[in-house]
Amino acid sequence: MNSLRKFVDKIKPHFEKGGKLEKLHSTFDAFETFLFVPNTVTKSGAHIRDNIDMKRTMIMVVFALAPSLLFGMWNVGHQYYEAIGAIGTISDKFLYGLLEVLPIIVVSYIVGLSIEFGIAQARGHEVNEGVLVTCFLIPLIVPVDIPLWMVAVATAFAVVLGKEVFGGTGMNILNPALTTRAFLFFAYPTFMSGDKVWVSRITEAYANKENPEIGRLITDNGDKIVDAFTGATPLAEAAAGNIHHYSIFDMFIGSIPGSIGETSTLAILLGALLLIYTGVGSWKIILSVFAGGIAMGGLFNALSGIYPDNAFLALPAYEHLMLGGFAFGAVFMATDPVTASQTERGKWIYGFLIGVLAIMVRVLNPAYPEGVMLAILLMNVFAPLIDHLVIRKNIKRRMRRIEVNSKQ
């Protein structure tokens, strides 16, 4: 790597103050620190520092998301093969999914990184690593059939309005990826919900059926959709009163329709294990979100006898954890340390309320079969309040000590 280092050292002066490319300093710095951890030494305070840095932390999140992405690619292929009634090997399905998902990832990163680099350069700051995780998350929470221009707009929304207007990584109030999802959901609802968007090319097939020239349920690839196929997610089915369309095994493994990365509870749990073990994700938040979900789901199960009209009440609490974006949200969205509660005690309350609210929105509100996104965004807003209460308790303890002492 010596030659690489020498090359970087050679071109470095151009980007420093007074050099010709001084304006591109942030960009150069981003590439340099990508290749090399810098040679800066400690100047004040502790003379030794831990080897961990923001890049290391963020890359752990990307590693934790990898199982969900890989499985998601296979699942895209699997759902398509089911739709056309064909048999395929694991690698067939994976390859199909890879080709469908890769463009979304590419668009997400190109748009995200360009905006991030541009803003960092304009401000004269270093490029922050948070954008690497945000751009990885966006493909995982959208349906596979989403138009690419929509991905670009959504990514731009996430980076600019989700993060940069607040001051960049570490300063935002709302989870950027979820802000994206909310934006897409409310701006383009037909592309984000329903029973056609979760399996690739089905929307087009139905359009083809309407088209008098074609008149048949046939996809762009020329495959005919099987008559009995429904692309609805198990959650939407449950909301419609159709519980147990899929087996528990399917729900846990994730071979069900849904957003690209959110279906496989197993893959998510693998990611959760990595996050908890490395200490990058708060186990308190993950645990309390699941606990809240079970508590609320259990309560609803108990009430399902009294209110037979709402069949959703009867969905067993543990199935709630495997359906929709609940597990994904619990592990990867709620744990975003910037937007979650920042006190250790606050995290329990924050997570529990997310679980409760998510299930509540799902079961009680007919307009939103998925409540996780809204629950997390709402709790993002309330996280500072929860922290405030914890801080006040700490302050009160200190004040009480002074009172006790002055009385003696």
Binding site: P38, S44, I48, R49, M54, N128, G279, V280, I402
Partner: protein, 452 residues
């Protein structure tokens, strides 16, 4: 009631180069120096000029804000140089030793037989008062205050810290005399804090006129601030004084022998030291006498630190030992580039987190260098500092209050109880590479100014 306190939060950093328990003499240095920069928030006013003759105990300068507090010479000789830095700030007052070892007589006395004013006046005149520091603000104690208690931490848990059991050996009488003197300065107790696993010496465990408190747990259990928090926390308006164990001996010698005896044992430690051990030397001695021919040849240049690697001061090789320090650490500089260091497994790297693999290798010691290991970022990760601060204080919230200059919030969150060194581990572990200790220092300075 003697307290037994088990601390769980904290970290013992596995760093190479602990000093062997061997005591050696150094060759007698020609020059000594007292550095006004060692004393926070004082304004030094010189009482001597270059060329003046001084004896051990002669005043060199005093604090303009508190003229009673004198700083005296550790040896007899001639003032060889007043070394000034930017804006005429005094960096060193150098004394060239004449080898005659002449001392000013302050008069021996049994502290138990004289009153508080007499003890205080003797300490001030001899220049030993600066050995007594206070919380809050972590500065030299204010002679006009009455502290609610005096605290002495008989053990040091910082990385490579010297063993105080070893240092105080055979000095039982001096140590006890020092304790007796300190006990007169407060209406409260003198707390002597020992560690359940590290403290064995009778000099500590059988000391009189003290309350013996036992601590257990990793660093920073040895920090006096942490100990104060668990024994008798500081509230707004209260003061507590603290003294290092070796300085208690120096105070004891003043009352026993009537002179400023500046002898001190200093440990030289660190991965770059060929033979780390303890040295018999003096306050203000040049570190060259310790490190001469004792530094390994290496591809990375060495960094000399007066104090420990977490809260010590960086010094040059031709500089002098700090007034309060009984440790000199030498570690390699880390000014190298690390190719894809954040992505590669890094099996040889040490980290308190589990994002590397050092947690699998218990008992391994590391040659840690001064590389920052990453760029400065905003606060992102949460829950990290709390793991290394065993106090009922919310560290990040306190730091944010300091950063926005919110004095009320600082007070409410416990600024009176903290010192930069208590946050040193948080700074070590911080993912965002925040300069925590200097922020805390700034907060303390702001509050002190507000209160006066």
């Amino acid at each position: 009631m003697p307290k037994v306190i088990k601390l769980r939060r904290g970290l013992d950093i596995p760093i190479k180069g602990k000093a062997e328990k061997i005591l050696t003499k150094t060759e007698k240095p020609e020059k000594y120096a007292i550095k006004p920069t060692d004393f926070h928030l004082i304004r030094p006013k010189l009482t001597i000029k270059e060329g003046h003759q001084v004896k051990a105990g002669s005043p060199l300068f005093f604090d303009k804000y508190k003229p009673d507090v004198l700083f005296t010479s550790p040896v007899s000789g001639t003032i060889s140089r007043i070394h000034r830095g930017e804006r005429r700030r005094i960096l060193h007052v150098e004394v060239a030793a004449d080898g005659k070892d002449e001392h000013i007589e302050f008069g021996a006395a049994n502290p138990l037989n004289i009153n508080r004013e007499q003890i205080q006046s003797k300490l001030l005149k001899a220049g030993l008062w600066p050995l007594i520091r206070q919380r809050p603000y972590s500065v030299i104690a204010n002679p006009k205050d009455t502290p609610k208690a005096v605290f002495i931490s008989a053990f040091d848990t910082a990385p490579l810290a010297p063993d105080h059991d070893f240092i105080v050996k055979d000095k039982q009488e001096e140590f006890q005399t020092g304790i007796n003197a300190l006990s007169k300065l407060t209406n409260g107790l003198v707390h002597l804090n020992i560690h359940a696993k590290y403290t064995f010496s009778d000099i500590f465990t059988k000391a009189q006129n003290v309350q013996l408190n036992t601590f257990s747990g990793p660093h920073p259990s040895g920090n006096v601030g942490i100990q104060i928090h668990h024994i008798d926390p500081i509230n707004k308006g209260e003061t507590a004084w603290y003294v290092a164990p070796q300085d208690v001996i120096t105070i004891g010698r003043l009352f026993k022998d009537g002179i400023f005896d500046a002898r001190r044992i200093v440990a030289l430690a660190g991965s770059e030291v060929k033979s780390p051990k303890y040295y018999k030397t003096y306050i203000g001695a040049p570190i060259e006498t310790l490190v001469k021919e004792n530094i390994k040849e290496a591809e990375l240049p060495p960094r000399f630190i007066s104090g420990n690697v977490l809260s010590g001061t960086r010094i040059d090789r031709n500089d002098y030992c700090g007034f309060y320090d009984s440790l000199v650490s030498v570690i390699p500089e880390g000014n190298y580039y690390d190719f894809m260091g954040w992505l590669l497994p890094g099996f040889k790297k040490y980290s308190e987190s589990r994002t590397f693999f050092s947690w699998l290798m218990r008992g391994k010691k590391y040659r840690l260098n001064t590389n920052m290991h990453g760029g400065k970022r905003a606060y992102v990760v949460t829950g990290q500092y709390e793991k290394y601060l065993p106090m009922d204080i919310l560290p990040v919230q306190l730091i944010k209050a300091i950063l926005v200059d919110d004095i009320d919030k600082m007070e409410q969150l416990g600024i009176y109880e903290v010192a930069p060194e208590d946050f040193a581990l948080c700074e070590f572990a911080c993912t965002s590479k925040t300069n925590v200790q200097s922020i805390i220092r700034k907060g303390l300075d702001t509050i002190k100014k507000e209160m006066e």
